[in-house]
Symmetry: C2
Subunit: 223 residues, 2 copies
């Protein structure tokens, strides 16, 4: 597939490397490509070198989005709606967006709280704001290094799908299966309102991270 990741941070780059491994064409969309090209990461790597090394393309929001088979929202939840507006409703029309962000609010110290929860979700906010975009909430429930590499943990563990569009969910399911997720471990919770459940899982996730000191865990369902 031709996959466009919206965002250029750690999550975007972690997923990009794995998606290339899986044989996809990968492009990152960003606000200002020139600025992004000269950015350096913690280890000193320059973005332009990273893109070349990993054979990942870079473009400005919305300019090549129409070519993508799948879009991935890898932005910080707080900036998601603004970013999607930069991409533009026209460019997003008819596209499938895998939304793996979380509506985390870090403004009151740690652990973060949620800036939307309970009777709404970020997944629903995106879907209402962009009615022609097919939002699929998935993979927001585990850390980026695990999202497309389930084998890194011992034993079965699960991820979820929430969305209003069956074909869009099927597309995301297929991509996840290609990454190693067993289909019975991808749980379709239902429509986009079920994203309230997976986003609020973060409230427990942050406590598990706090008590264990590690993000390398996931949940399994036991019956």
């Amino acid at each position: 597939m031709n996959i466009h990741i919206l965002g250029t941070g750690n999550v975007a780059r972690t997923l990009a490397v794995r998606l290339k491994e899986l044989g996809h064409r990968v492009e990152l969309e960003t606000r200002n490509p020139e600025d992004t090209l000269s950015r350096t990461f913690g280890d000193g790597t320059v973005m332009s070198d990273w893109l070349k090394t990993n054979d990942v393309s870079l473009s400005s929001f919305g300019t090549t989005t129409s070519e993508a088979d799948l879009l991935i929202n890898a932005s910080n939840g707080k900036g998601t709606l603004e970013m999607l507006h930069r991409v533009g409703a026209e460019a997003l029309k008819g596209k499938v967006l895998l939304d793996l962000s979380n509506p985390l609010d870090f403004s009151n110290g740690m652990p973060p709280t949620l800036f939307v929860c309970n009777d709404d979700s970020l997944g629903e906010q995106i879907q209402r704001e962009f009615p022609d975009l097919q939002v699929v909430k998935s993979l927001n429930t585990l850390t980026a290094p695990l999202m497309l590499t389930p084998h890194k943990l011992k034993g079965d563990h699960v991820v979820f799908l929430s969305g209003n569009h069956a074909e869009a969910k099927a597309k995301v399911r297929a991509m996840e299966e290609s990454a190693g997720w067993k289909t019975e471990n991808i749980i379709d919770l239902g429509d986009i309102t079920t994203a309230r459940g997976t986003e609020q899982w973060l409230a427990l996730w942050v406590r598990l991270y706090g008590s264990s000191g590690s993000a390398l865990f996931n949940l399994n369902l036991v019956k």
Copy 2:
């Protein structure tokens, strides 16, 4: 132990039977014992017969609470604070309360939402309201028939402890272990603020219940 369960509904009675099996003395506290004695359940059983059959005592809130080694909040979350006021701060002084309720709001249809979440929790509300009561949030994350019978599910699965008092948590842990929970499957998340995580788990729990049609599940943590 001499365990007093606050409440007389399904959850209270399910736990009472199991706690009797485990060898404890069990007493239910209620608002009006006379009214409670004549209540009938869905299957036609009368409460007075049920108490006799199961060798469970019944008393009025707060009258014999001082004798209890452990208190269990098995009331509906919405009624919890009012109920505890009927028991009374004096009777609750120095006691350990296992709080397994959830702050569920059913007033806007199904699935229920939470009437407190994100930056507060029912566990914390109880602790603030009754500073001399040692609140331990635990077992609110799974359905009553599973709370003290972990072997009913196949394989490992986990429960949590949240509370400000180490000895109180140790008491609840010991009781859970006596019911079959492996100590490594009882995860201490930390202080009572961590109850935000386990109460918000309900947002995902209700979606899993909705998509599967069964409450007989729990989560395990995979590393």
